[in-house]
């Protein structure tokens, strides 16, 4: 689960997009490394648990012991095929593994096994919505193409002490999917929105935990700028961005940096940079200065990877079988929410972007057939406001979903006012485990709807506020609101304000005569 501070209701302010008033156009392409959720590594039987003690999830193969050989983990292939299909990619019936050579202490074999020549899948695409409320008035939909998805091994980790370096190989050989996107994006907001959508898809298909704090999802961004109508500019690559907020921030910073350089007639270098999340700047990565030749070579110890599909029956996994288990994906849910339940586009986006909120919405609707729009509004506005006020996370909230539909139902029957609904919510959030109806009963919050009773109350209010009444009768129409407020106050917000509005109007018009 990514940090909630980056969700759509974030208060963080982004400056306006550079595109609108600049001659520069920016182009952004992403490469995403997604760790596959599996019990063991890509080519060995070693465990893959994140928090294991240092160097405990290491098989002989993972430390490149001479004579050991890779054996492909079938469940990783299944996960990658499922991902590829969910992202509308063509799964290739035959793909190959290659060795990519470079020396690094946490890369014990001196090469990484990846899929360079013929990846597992290619030519995918998906739609996603871009909506940063502080930047965009309303959401807009765009599309990104996926060049390829390949399987590859992760490297280990180097730990640098002041006078020595140590190596932890727990991560070495962990299964990764590398998703290479076409440079179809124009700024950091789009890139961040793409990653959010991707996370939403992964949450559905469960092939990647997306735990960014564990490095389960790492993003590289290629950024360049050019003048409209001119060829693309020199690009820089920002490596290993570890949060959605970082993606937006790093790309925005990088675009601005490149514009500054070009505006002062400088040259943008083709280099690899890193995002410093604390200082909010990108900095050149020193050790990657030299252009590496990875000397790719086919991995001779692994036969071609065959995936069965359609008439092709030969394969270690079957794409057609996997296709059948793809759950409903975010875009499909948004469409359903709009088309079948009548939600607005924004509502559908916000709900789908927050799987927990969506789950409450769906369960609530299932428990009681209430107006979906009213329910969605209540969850998006009232629940989120109350959660923010109390600094609570929705994941940690244990209100049964059916209570929300109950509140909506009580609202509809005019048993409570909207104001009271919020009070009930706060009660529930502060730990009251009674049903909304019981809370209302217990607290005597039930709305007063009886016209006679309300008329009496209104009469009393008018009587008790002679000065205000005089003002009103002499033409100060604004005082009407004061009467409404007084009614609300004397009834502890229990009066049905719609009815009181009418009653007061009638009473006052009588007096005007």
């Amino acid at each position: 689960m990514f940090s909630r501070s980056t969700s759509y209701i974030s208060k963080r302010l982004y400056s306006k997009s550079v595109q609108e008033n600049s001659k520069w156009r920016s182009v952004v392409g992403l490469e995403v490394h997604a760790q596959i959720q599996s019990n063991s590594k890509l080519f060995s039987g070693a465990g893959s648990k994140f928090s294991s003690p240092i160097n405990s999830n290491v098989s002989l193969f993972d430390m490149a012991t001479p004579g050991t050989l890779p054996t492909l983990n079938k469940s990783c292939v299944e996960a990658a095929v499922l991902t590829a299909l969910a992202l509308n990619c063509q799964v290739n019936p035959v793909s190959y593994f290659d060795r990519k050579h470079y020396f690094y202490a946490d890369m014990p074999a001196g090469y990484q096994i990846t899929q360079q020549r013929a990846p597992l899948a290619s030519n995918g695409s998906f739609d996603f919505n871009v909506y940063t409320p502080s930047v965009h008035k309303k959401p807009y939909k765009t599309k990104v193409r996926i060049k390829q998805i390949q399987l590859e091994q992760d490297s280990g980790k180097s730990l640098h002490d002041f006078d020595r370096s140590l190596v932890d190989l727990n991560r070495a050989g962990m299964p990764l999917m590398e998703l290479v996107f076409e440079p179809d994006l124009k700024d950091g907001d789009e890139a961040a929105a793409l990653i959010k959508e991707l996370i939403g898809i992964f949450e559905r298909i469960r092939t990647c935990s997306c735990k960014m704090e564990e490095g389960a999802l790492r993003i590289d961004a290629n950024v360049s700028i050019h003048e409209k109508g001119q060829p693309l500019g020199t690009r820089t690559e920002i490596k290993n961005i570890g949060s959605v907020r970082g993606v937006a921030g790093a790309i925005k910073y990088e675009i601005d940096r490149q514009i500054k350089i070009k505006n002062s007639f400088g040259t943008v270098l083709n280099e690899t940079r890193a995002w410093n999340a604390e200082k909010k700047v990108t900095v050149p990565m020193r050790d990657k200065e030299v252009q590496q030749d990875y000397r790719y070579m086919p991995e001779p110890n692994l036969p071609p990877l065959h995936v069965a599909m359609g008439p092709i029956e030969f394969g270690s996994v079957n794409a057609d079988t996997i296709k059948k288990i793809i759950p409903e994906l975010p875009e499909e849910i948004r469409i359903r929410l709009r088309n079948e339940l009548g939600l607005t586009e924004t509502q559908s986006i916000i709900l789908v972007n927050d799987s927990c909120l969506l789950q409450h919405f769906e369960l609530a609707l299932k428990s009681k057939n209430v107006d979906p729009i009213a329910l969605a509004n209540f969850l998006i506005n009232d629940l989120n406001t109350s959660l923010n006020k109390l600094k609570l996370e929705i994941e940690n909230m244990n209100i049964p979903s059916k209570y929300f539909s109950e509140i909506i139902d009580l609202l509809k029957q005019a048993q409570i006012s909207h104001q009271t609904a919020r009070l009930v919510l706060d009660e529930l959030l502060s730990g009251d485990s009674d049903t909304p109806a019981m809370i209302i009963e217990k607290r005597n919050w039930k709305q007063i709807t009886d016209v006679d009773e309300l008329t009496k109350i209104c009469e009393t209010v008018l009587k008790e506020n002679e000065k205000a009444l005089k003002d009103f009768l002499s033409g100060k129409k604004k005082v009407f609101k004061f009467f409404l407020g007084a009614v609300a106050k004397t009834t502890d917000n229990r009066a049905n304000m719609g009815k009181c509005d009418e009653i007061l109007k009638t009473l006052l018009s009588k007096r005007l005569k």
Binding site: T65, P66, G67, T68, L69, A105, M297, P303
Partner: protein, 496 residues
């Protein structure tokens, strides 16, 4: 007791079952002989302690009349590029001089499970890169044939020279070698033993420290074809630890007695391209002689053409060096192996460890291989070599449309003198030495070197049989048939 070691596996098995000899006795004899023949330098490391323990356990099984297999109690040697649990595995290199694996190669494990007694690890060219067993940090192995002293000896051939001599001299019945371009068959040919390279994928490579993964196979060295079959039966078959191992179940091979076999109408091909200017007259005559003999015994012998044979060596050289460059990348002195005294930077540590840990041959291959793999050269060299490899494999496919088996020389000459051999570079020697053996590795097909006769100066002359993929039963049967016809005068029989 040493006489038992000069017999064969089946005879020994019978003697053990009848309790005429015991496993500890045979094991002790093997070590006595190993010490007696120390000057030939066939072993890097003798594992006497663990062997004695294995021997006792094996004897217990015989005492209980429950031997595991005909290999139970049989002394075997293993080339020092197969990982052996808790036994140093050096690849005859400084780089792995201190490397003690924590696991057994699948072939070693299967031999152990069959009851065989591991007596030691045998000498080789560093990382199996060579064809003489001369480039070892433990010094060259020396051929028992024509040996006239430490400064005047013939090479054993290589790179499995240590295993070949261990078998030829009767220290053990069988030994494992590895075969990438002929490394099992070449020394077998020079030492007068049977050297067998199985179909690629039939025998697991797990635990074999790789030279060229796409061509390496564990090889078997024995004095007789029957002994070779006994060992093959123990080690062959699918291994889930090796993704290139063949899944098809291996059916144990049973060969009929030689006098019950016929080769009537067997179609034998003589590929004319295996004749080249370096082929010695004696080998050439032996080749002809056997072809005629087989023809006289009812086989249909015909000349065929395999036009891409001459390109095999240069193609092999490129593929070999590329895979070597890649496979050697792991030796950086970090996780295991030799680490130089160098702390100024990680890069310096790598560079110094590697330059000190590898010999010149290895370093040269790494440099050349990396050059071939550069992006700008990949198409020109590596990919082209892959295409040529396909052509060579196709030569074999076409040959099988005409014949069932090929008869060729194994080596172009008898074993050269050490002092002559080292005049040429490792590279040139490999090109020459591997000429007849290498194409089989390109195609993955099985091949066997069978000793035929002694040359005028008393050195073994051998011929090679090559069959199609998984034709082991037929290939080994024909080898046994020839073995019976020629009655090669084995070294162990000469000395007794």
């Amino acid at each position: 007791m040493e006489k038992v070691l000069n017999t064969n596996i089946k005879t020994t098995f019978k003697l053990l079952i009848e309790n005429i000899v015991t496993v500890p006795e045979i094991t002790a004899a093997a070590f006595n002989k190993a010490r007696e023949f120390k000057k030939y330098n066939s072993f890097i490391n003798l594992t006497e302690e663990s062997a004695n323990k294995q021997a006792e356990e094996s004897q217990k099984r015989y005492d209980e009349k429950k031997p595991i297999s005909e290999l139970d109690g049989v002394p075997v040697a293993v080339k020092d590029n197969f990982c052996t649990k808790e036994v140093a595995t050096t690849c005859a290199s400084k780089m792995l001089q201190n490397f003690i694996p924590t696991y057994n190669a699948t072939v070693v494990e299967r031999l152990k499970n069959a009851g065989a007694v591991l007596i030691g690890k045998t000498n080789l060219d560093q990382f199996a890169m060579g064809s003489g067993t001369v480039d070892s940090i433990y010094g060259p192995s020396k051929n028992i044939w024509g040996y006239q002293g430490d400064d005047n000896f013939h090479i054993a051939g290589g790179s499995s020279g240590g295993s070949s001599i261990a078998v030829a001299s009767g220290i053990c019945f069988g030994a494992l070698g590895s075969d990438t371009g002929g490394s099992t068959r070449n020394p077998a040919s020079y030492c007068g033993v049977v050297g067998f390279k199985p179909t690629y994928g039939l025998v697991s490579r797990y635990g074999l420290i790789p030279l060229v993964n796409s061509m390496d196979v564990p090889g078997i060295l024995t004095r007789t074809v029957d002994d070779c079959v006994s060992i093959l039966n123990a080690i062959a078959g699918f291994d889930d630890k090796d993704s290139t191992s063949l899944e098809r179940p291996f059916k144990k091979i049973r060969l009929p007695p030689a006098d019950k076999m016929t080769i009537k109408d067997l179609k034998i091909g003589i590929p004319v391209e295996y004749y080249n200017e370096h082929l010695s007259d004696e080998v050439y005559f032996a080749w002809n002689e056997i072809a005629n003999l087989l023809s006289n015994n009812g086989a249909i012998v015909k000349q065929i053409s395999m036009p891409n044979t001459e390109h095999s060596i240069v193609c092999y050289s490129i593929l070999n060096q590329c895979e070597v460059a890649s496979n050697m990348a792991r030796y950086d002195g970090i996780q295991y192996g030799y680490r130089a005294e160098e702390n100024s930077s990680t890069e310096k540590l790598y560079a110094t460890s590697r330059s000190q840990g590898f010999n010149e041959v290895v370093r040269n291959r790494i440099l050349t291989g990396n050059y071939f793999l550069l992006t700008r050269n990949y198409e020109k060299y590596f990919n082209k070599a892959l295409k040529v490899r396909r052509l060579i494999a196709n030569d074999f496919h076409k040959a099988w449309e005409e014949v069932q088996i090929l008869l060729t020389p194994t080596t172009l000459t008898t074993a050269p003198l050490y002092k002559d051999f080292v005049q040429k570079t490792n590279r040139d020697q490999c090109a020459l030495q591997d000429y007849c053996t290498q194409p089989a590795n390109m195609a993955g097909v099985p091949a066997i070197s069978v000793p035929i006769k002694l040359s005028n100066n008393g050195l073994p002359i051998s011929l090679q049989l090559i069959g199609r993929n998984l034709s082991e039963p037929m290939l080994l049967a024909v080898a046994k048939y020839i073995e019976n016809l020629v009655q090669f005068p084995h070294f162990v029989n000469k000395s007794s």
